[in-house]
Symmetry: C3
Subunit: 307 residues, 3 copies
C-alpha cells in the first residue's frame, strides 16, 4: 500500500501533493463506506492512544471515532495534565512510556513544538492534534476535504478567511495548505488582527492573489467559500474597540443575501455567535458537515500511517 511521505502528522506544510491526494481519496472512500453502514476492520487489533494535555472533546472524539470505525481500539487520556506530568515527568518520558502501550499516539498539548518533541521520542506515528498557537494539521486537511467536496474542486475558488486572522492557528494552517492550489484569498479582519505577513507572503510567492479588507460584506459578494472564526474579547487592549467591531464579523441570513447562491459557509467550531443560527438551514451551511468530515479524514490518516 502507498504510504505517507512521513511517519508523523505534525504540520500542515509537511504534505506533498501526492500525500494530500492519497489522504483525500482515501477519506472519500471511507466516507462512502460509513454512509452505507459498512463495517471496516483494517485496524483490528491496533491500539491508538489519545493524549490530551488540554481538553478538546471535539478533536478527541473525532480521532477516537475514526479509530473505532476502522475496527481499532482506543486508550483515552482526556486529562493528561493531571498525570505523570504533574509529578515532574518530561513529555519525552511520557511518550516513551505510552509507545509501550499503543501503536500510534494523538497528542494535544498547550506548548508550540510539543508534537515535534513527541515524534522525536518514538518511532511510532505521532499525530499532532494541536500544539498551542502552533499547528493543527488534521483540522486543515478536513477543511480542505470539505471545500473540495462542497465545491467539487478547489482550483479557481475565491476563499475568504474571516475573523481574528492574527492569532488563529486554524486559518494559518489552512492558508498554508490551500496555497498549494490556484486559489484567490480574501483575508477579512479588523486592522489590528490581520493575517501575519509571512502567511501572506508565502501565498503570494506561490502566485496566489491575496486581498485584505476589513469589510465582510464586500468579501461575501466575491466568495465561493467563507471561513468564519471567532474574535475573542481578550485579544483587544481596548474593550470599546472590541464592542465596536464584534458585530461586523457576524454572519446572518440577511448578510448572506448578497453572497453567491453557491457559497459554502465554514467554521472550525465551536461557534459562539459568529454565525447566526438562522444560517444553519441554508444549503451552503457546511460547518456541521465539515466537523463530521473529520472522521473519514482521520480514518485515512490512521490507516495510511498504521496499515
Amino acid at each position: 500500500m502507498t504510504k505517507l511521505s512521513k511517519k508523523d502528522v505534525l504540520r500542515a506544510d509537511q504534505f506533498t501533493p501526492g500525500d494530500i491526494h492519497l489522504i483525500l481519496e482515501r477519506a472519500a472512500t471511507y466516507e462512502a463506506a460509513l454512509a452505507v453502514g459498512k463495517e471496516l476492520d483494517e485496524l483490528r487489533g491496533k491500539v491508538l492512544a489519545t493524549l490530551f494535555f488540554e481538553p478538546s472533546t471535539r478533536t478527541r472524539l473525532s480521532f477516537e471515532a475514526a479509530m473505532l470505525r476502522l475496527g481499532g481500539c482506543v486508550l483515552s487520556v482526556s486529562e493528561a495534565k493531571s498525570t505523570s506530568a504533574s509529578k515532574g515527568e518530561s513529555l519525552h518520558d511520557t511518550i516513551k512510556t505510552v509507545e509501550g502501550y499503543a501503536d500510534a499516539i494523538v497528542l494535544r498539548h498547550p506548548e508550540v513544538g510539543a508534537a515535534e518533541v513527541a515524534a522525536r521520542a518514538t518511532a511510532k506515528p505521532v499525530l499532532n492534534a494541536g500544539d498551542g498557537a502552533g499547528e493543527h494539521p488534521t483540522q486543515s486537511l478536513l477543511d480542505l476535504y470539505t471545500i473540495r467536496k462542497e465545491q467539487g474542486c478547489v482550483d479557481g475558488l475565491t476563499i475568504s478567511l474571516v475573523g481574528d486572522l492574527k492569532h488563529g492557528r486554524t486559518v494559518h494552517s489552512l492558508a498554508t495548505l490551500l496555497s498549494q492550489y490556484p486559489v484567490s484569498f480574501l483575508f477579512v479582519s479588523p486592522p489590528a488582527l490581520r493575517m501575519p505577513r509571512e502567511v501572506v507572503e508565502r501565498a503570494q510567492a506561490k502566485g496566489i492573489s491575496v486581498r485584505e479588507t476589513d469589510d465582510l460584506g464586500l468579501a461575501l459578494v466575491q466568495s465561493d467559500v467563507v471561513y468564519m472564526t471567532r474574535i475573542q474579547r481578550e485579544r483587544f487592549a481596548d474593550p470599546v474597540e472590541y464592542d465596536r467591531l464584534k458585530d461586523a464579523y457576524v454572519l446572518t441570513r440577511a448578510t448572506l443575501g448578497k453572497a453567491k447562491p453557491s457559497i459554502t459557509v465554514m467554521h472550525p467550531l465551536p461557534r459562539v455567535n459568529e454565525i447566526s443560527t438562522d444560517v444553519d438551514d441554508l444549503p451552503g451551511a457546511a460547518y456541521f458537515r465539515q466537523s463530521a468530515n473529520g472522521v473519514p479524514v482521520r480514518m485515512a490518516l490512521l490507516a495510511l500511517l498504521l496499515d
Copy 2:
C-alpha cells in the same frame, strides 16, 4: 425486527404497553445470554457516545457495558461540562457535532428538558440518562424489569415507595410507569416530602389505589415491594426536623421482621444509610441485582433503537 414506537428514549411515559413488552422480553433474552457468557455482536461496528454533563459513573458504566456486551464501541465523555460548552457552545451545536461521530447518544445533563433539545437537534437516537429534576426513563425501566423478575409478575402487587417522594425524579418516573399496571401504591414519606399531587392523581385516574402514610412500619407489613430512596439533609429548612425524621426511614433487618417473607427490597443506589448492611444477605434484598439489571435493559434499548 420490531422497533420502538419512538426513535428516542426521553420520558418514562412515552412507552406504549407494546414497547414495554418488547423491551422487557428482549432484556430477559440478553440477561440469559450474559449469564452463560454468550458473546453477542449485534451492534458490531456501531458507536455509542455517552455525553455526561454531570458525573454519574454508575449510569455511564451501565450504558457503556450494555453497548460493549453487544459488540459495539463507545466514545466516552465523563466531563462534558469542561468542554466546548465552557467555550459558549450551545447544547444544540454540541449534539450536531457528536452526531457526526456516533450512531446514538446517551445524554446526562443538569437541566430539565435537555434531552428533548438534544433529540430535536439530531435524527439519531438520543437516550436520556437523567435531565436534572426531570426524567430518567431507563432507570424506571430497569426498576420495572426488576419487580417483574423478583416477583414473577407485576399485576396485583402492593408497592411502597419510601423516602423523599417530593423531589425524587426516580420515584416520579417509576410511579408513572407502574401506573400502566393494576397495582396498589403506598407512598411513605414525611408530610413535607409527600408525592406531588399530579403523580397521585395520574395513578388514581388509572384506577390505582393510592394510600399515603408517614409510617414505614405500617407500610412494610402490607408490601410486596419496598422501594427506598434517600432523604437529603439539604431538603429540610429545619435541621432539627431532619434529625427527628431520618432514622424513621431506615430499613434494617429488625424492621423487616414484620414484612412478608417474600418482600422485595429495592433502592436506586447509591445508598448511604437508608438500608442497613445487615439487610444485604436477605433473599429479598434486590438492590444490587436491580443495579445489574440496568445492563440487559439498556442492551435491549440500544438494540431496538440501533439494530
Copy 3:
C-alpha cells in the same frame, strides 16, 4: 487451562512459585505475539473495569492496553473519587455495583487494604493496582519479568535497590517477591530512609545476603541490577539534609562508568532526575522496556484469571 492459585491479585507475597512460573511464561508468549503484530482474541466479549480512585495514567493505560490486546473491552473510570463515593457510598457498595457491569475489576485506591475489601465484596477477580502505601503486586511482577529477561536468569544476581527504601511501596513488594530466588541484595539509601526491618529480616530468613549502605558508587561496582527510586523532598524533616543527599542518589553516565558493562538499570517511572537522560542510550538502560513489559505481564494475569 492451569489457573492461578487465587482468584484475585492483591499482594506480592500471594504468588506460589508455580503461579510466578505460569505468569512469566505466559507473559513471554504474549510479548512474542505482540512483537510480530499477531492479533489475539482470547478475551473477546469480556469486559474489564478500571476503577481509579487516585490518578495513575501509566498503570491504568497499561492494564487497559493489556485487555484490548487480548480482544477484550474496557470500562474506564479515571476519576472514581468524584463519583458515587462522593455521595457517601462505601467501597463495598461501589464494587457490588461494578461487578454487575464487568468480568474483572482493577482497583487503585489511596487506602491500604482497599483491594482486600473489594475482593471480599465480589466473586469476580479484583486486581490491586496500588492501595496507598500498601501493595502494587503487578508492578513487582513486571519488575521480576524485566530482570529475568534482561539478565537471562534471576538466580545468583546481585540486585541493588536504591533511594527512599523506607516509604517505597514498590521496593518493599519487589524485595518480597525476589526473596523467593537465590539473590543477593544491596539496599542503598540515606540512613533515615533505610529499608524497614521486617523486609530485611524476611529476606535473611530465606537465606539471602542483605547488605545496607548509603554509598551508591560502592553498590554500583558490585551490582547486576540497579533499581532506582525517587527521594521526595517532603520525606525530610530538614530541607538542608535533603539538599545534601539528593545528588548522591542520581545515576549518570559518568557514575555508571564504574559498573559492570552488563548492568541493568531499572526505575518504576516517572523519573524526575534520579537517572540522568544521558543514561537512556546505554544498552542496560531498561526502564522504558520495563514499563512496556507491564502490558504482557498484565495480559498474562488477565488471561489466567478470566479465560
